[in-house]
Structures are given as C-alpha cells and as structure tokens.
C-alpha cells in the first residue's frame, strides 16, 4: 500500500508506443534510480505520472498509496502527494518565487484556513539557505533568466516547500557543474525520510555518487529490463548502454 506503484502502464503518442507494460514499485522510505539511454521513455513516464495531457494512456494503473492517480488533473495529482522536478523548468515571467510557492501552498489549504505569512517566509528562507539560493531570488520571477543550476535549485526548493510523499526527479543533474550538483544532491538527501519515496531519473551515473540509491533500474524501449543494487549503476557506466541494447534487451524479449 505505502508505495508509488506503477502497473503495466502502456502509453503512446499517435501510433508510436512509448511505454510498454511498464511496471515499477517505489516503496516509501526508498530512493530508486531509473537509468537508460535517451529516447527510451524516461521523461514520458515522468510527465504521464504528473498528469500531462499530451500522452495517451492505453492501459495500466498508477497507485499512490493505493489511490489511482492516472487520468487525474495535474493539480489533483500534486495534492495527492506527487512532485515532479522538471528536466526543463519553465520560466514564469512576472510571478516571483515567493508568490509562486505561496500559491502552490495555499492551493492545499481548506476554505477556512489561511497561510501564516511570517512562518511561511521563515521556512522559505531556511530552505533557500540549505540550497544556497540567495535571498534576493525570492522576489525574482521564477526561472526567468536563471542559469541551469539556479533553475534546478529552484525545483528542489519547491519540492522542499511542498513536502510531497513521492518525488520524481527528471534528469535533475543535466546541465549542472559539480558544485551545483553537490548542492542539489544535498537538498535531495536532506529530504530523504521514511515517509517519502523518490525516483531519480538520470542518464548518467554521476548523480548517484551523491544521491546513493537503494535500488537501480535500467530502462530500455519503454520498460525496465534490469533491476539491482547501487552497483548496477557502476556496471552500466562501465559497460555502456550498448550492453543494455545488446544483452539486457535481448534477454528480456
């Protein structure tokens, strides 16, 4: 029950099928890594989980602590406890970081509740300090003119403020230098908890030096072809994705 459970998910765009009977369970308290070459369906999976409307789900099920989220609106999925850190966070001109996160938090409050603004800002600054985000950024438009590293830190900041039960991090390492990678990883590690499950989607092993996963999955052609411990990531790094293509994919088919 206490898991993000994806069961035989089949997703297509037009005639092209992207996810094929994709099945994965991330229990609460664990960090899983999902690795695979480009074009194998990792980012599609992330967007489908978050409720993106462009993809057609042919069949399958996504249960968040036993509750179906497939077919729900993106804001409902967010309220249910899922968070997606975007590979390419969008620029939101004219909406400051502080007001954006505030709107997201207020959307979770009941009709009778109101946000405690001083407490909100205390918490925001605390998380910003942790992620080494300058406080000047609170009034800057979200992601507008941010560097790659600043955008990724802003994603983790939102995650830290919204405290989701399940986190999907889509290629959070892409475009980061080592310093930024360490800061982002610190933020993610800080959020590791028995009450939270995470799925780290990445192309490279590098991120997993800093965020050490409990389980590593290898994805190819819209499904998982091998799962193992953290050593699997190193093996993959060493043997390359041709190994996946030539051996794992063949063995699975």
């Amino acid at each position: 029950m206490d898991s993000l459970h994806i069961e035989k998910l089949n997703v297509s765009i037009g005639e092209k099928s992207i996810l094929n009977d994709f099945t994965l369970t991330v229990p609460k308290g664990e960090v899983h890594a999902l690795m695979g070459p480009n074009g194998t369906g990792k980012s599609t999976l992330a967007k489908v989980l978050a409720g993106h409307q462009d993809y057609h789900t042919d069949s399958g099920s996504v249960l968040l602590d036993g509750k179906e989220i497939l077919g729900k609106e993106p804001d409902e999925i967010s309220h249910a406890g899922l968070f997606l850190a975007f590979q390419y966070p969008l620029e939101i001109p004219g909406v400051s970081i502080a007001n954006f996160i505030r709107a997201a938090i207020e959307s979770r409050l009941g009709a009778e509740e109101s946000l405690d603004a001083p407490a909100y800002y205390r918490r925001l600054y605390e998380k910003m300090d942790l992620l080494q985000i300058d406080r000047k950024f609170t009034s800057r438009s979200l992601n507008e003119g941010f560097s790659g590293g600043e955008k990724k830190r802003a994603e983790i900041l939102q995650m830290a403020m919204l405290e989701p039960t399940y986190c999907i991090l889509d290629e959070t390492d892409s475009g980061l230098d080592i310093d930024a990678l360490k800061v982002v990883s610190n933020g993610v590690n800080f959020m590791r908890s028995n009450e939270r499950g995470s799925l780290i989607i990445t192309h490279y092993q590098r991120l997993l030096d800093y965020i050490v996963p409990d389980v590593v999955h290898v994805m190819w052609d819209g499904r998982i072809v091998k799962s193992g411990g953290k050593g699997l990531a190193l093996e993959l790094e060493e043997k390359g994705y041709d190994w996946v293509k030539d051996e794992l994919a063949v063995a699975c088919s």
Binding site: G51, P74, L90, E91, F100, S107
Partner: protein, 390 residues
Amino acid sequence: MKLMDENPLNLPSASDPDWRFASVRKYRLDAVQPTVDLPEDALQDLAERSRFLDDTSGHAILAGNQLSAPIHLQDSAINLGVSLDLSETPCEMFPTLGGQQFLDYNSTNSRTSICLNVPDNVELQSPILLVHWNDTGVALPQVQVKTGKYSKLCLVEIYLSADSTPGHNIASTQVQAGEGSHVSRVVVRNWNPHTTAVHLEKLSAQRDALLRSININIGGGTIRQESVISAEGQGADLRLHSLSVSGEDQEFDQRTLQTHQAPNSRSDLLFKNALMAGGRTIFSGMIRVSPEAQYTDAYQTNRNLLLDPSAEANSLPGLEILANDVKCSHGATSGQIDDEQLFYMRSRGITEQLARQLLVFGFFEEIISKIHLPDLENKVRGWIEERFKT
C-alpha cells in the same frame, strides 16, 4: 460651448494607410454633447478623488476644460525655479502619425495647456501629478514639458472619466528632455467604456538625456495613441513602454515612430497587449535612423496575449535605416497562454484558473514594475483587476 460647430473636425479617410485597421468613424464628434462647465462642488469632488500619490512636488487637476482647483506646486519646487502653469500660448506643432486633424483641433481649441518647466540642474525628488477628468463633451488637454540640463523629473499623467457619461478626449503632450536630464513619465488611461480618445505625443531627448515613458491603457472605448520619440542629441536614450488591456467593444490603436538623428543614441520600445473576449488592438511601429545616426541601438517589440478566440491583435512593425552601422531589431508576437507553463504550474497544485490568472498578471508585471512608484503601481494593479472582474 459648442466646439464642433465652430471648428468641424474632418475625419481621416477610412482608406488612409495611417489608419489601417482603425475604426475611423468612431472618432466622429457630432454625437458628442457640448462641454458644460462644472459647478464648484463637482470640481472639488474631482480634486478629492485625485489623490493617487502620497508624495508629489506639485499637481494640476483638470475637469473637462477647466481647472478643478488652483494648480499647486510645493514651495520647495517653487524655490528651485520650477514652474507649473496654464500656458497662454498653444503648444508647438509636431509631426503626427496620421492624426494631424486632431492635433490641429486640439491646438486651436484647447483652453487648458499645462506648462511645466524644470530649470537646469534641478532634481525633483517626488513626481508632478497631472489628472485629467473627462466629463460630458470634448476635453482638449495639452501638456508641455521642458527639462533643463542635468535636471530630473518624474511626471505622472492620469486620464479618467468623472462618471459614466460618454466623452471625447483629444490630448497632446510634448516632452523635451534637455541635455543630460532624466525624465520618467507614466501615463495611465482608464476612462469609462463610452469614451473615445486621441492622444498625440512627441517625446524628444537631447544629448545624453534619458527619457522613459510608460503607458498603461486600461479603460476606454475607442482609443488612439500616437507617440513620436526622437533621439535628437548623441547618447540620448529613450524608452517607450506600454501595457493595454482590451476587452469587449474596446479598440486600442497605437502608432509609434522612433527617430534617431544623432549618433550613439538608443531607443527601446516594448508594447504589450492583453486581449479579452471581443478586444481589439492595433500596433503600428516604425524605427527611422538618419544617415548621421551611426551606432544607434533601436529596438521595437510588440507582444500580444490573446485570452479569447474572438480577440483581434493587429501588428505592423517597420524599420527604415539609412545609417550603415547600427543595431536595430523589431518583432511582434501574438499567442495564447502557453500550455506547458500551465502544466508546470498545475503540477505544483495550482488550479488551472489561478494559474491562468497568475500568468496574465505576470505578463503585465514586466511593464508595471518599471513604474517605480509603489502607490501608483498598486493603484494600476487594482484597476486592472477590476477590469478583469467585469
């Protein structure tokens, strides 16, 4: 006073290229009631309603073609030699972008020409506020501003309707920013929906002057704005920004000309329109760089946010460059709210309705945040919010 009987206004021809896309016939004056002078209590009431800024160096409040109260200038400004008066002489004529008849009409008939002079080296710390209340009939405001060398001025012009009666406004503004002066001007137009207006303006900057002008167009019926900005001395820097919110039965028609007559000058134009159901906008812009104006930087951007399929945004950007070493660009985009931005916001739990609202108001902030007068910024935000409620 029946202005239109004494001096008929000849409308431009509907086929005049300077009036392309415009609803020319809406500018006829014959349906407009004659201007009536307001009683004293009504004038006082309008003066009371004009407290838009906490701190000013002076103000003039006009109602129709009258002063609603004596022009006020702070002693500190008077001591510095600043003058703010009703002028005896009509404003100098300047080239228009198709609205010559309207400028002639304004020049011939205006009784309220506000004249502001800031002497050399005088820096006004707080803004000068001009409020023009439209009532029945045709209001013909004029504003003439001259700033001396290395002076500093912030000017706020607010155009409003006194009530819901149909009105007509034909206005002219001329700003001449002297050498090295810094002039920051904000114009807010928020008339009732039955108002037709033509505002003709010429903004010029001498050597090394910085002249910023921000237009916020919220309420009104059929509104035309012509802005000629002119870099007349080397190193002059002109910035013309605009935000218009157009809805049902509203037409905002904006024509601009950026001229560069001197080298190393710069002009930057950004006009943003948000169009609701039935709204119409026209943007026609031209950059003209003279042969002697080498090393000019001139930019022109028009962005239209279409919030309903029935909205119509027309864009006519243009360049005419006679110098050979310049940086110029122009561009116009029209689009709807971006689905990927919406998805991103909704993935954080923000409802679709609120996400749309935040994106629309975010679109406005780029211009509003340039005002740099917090009380006016908040007033403008409030007026725009009201516009979205109706």
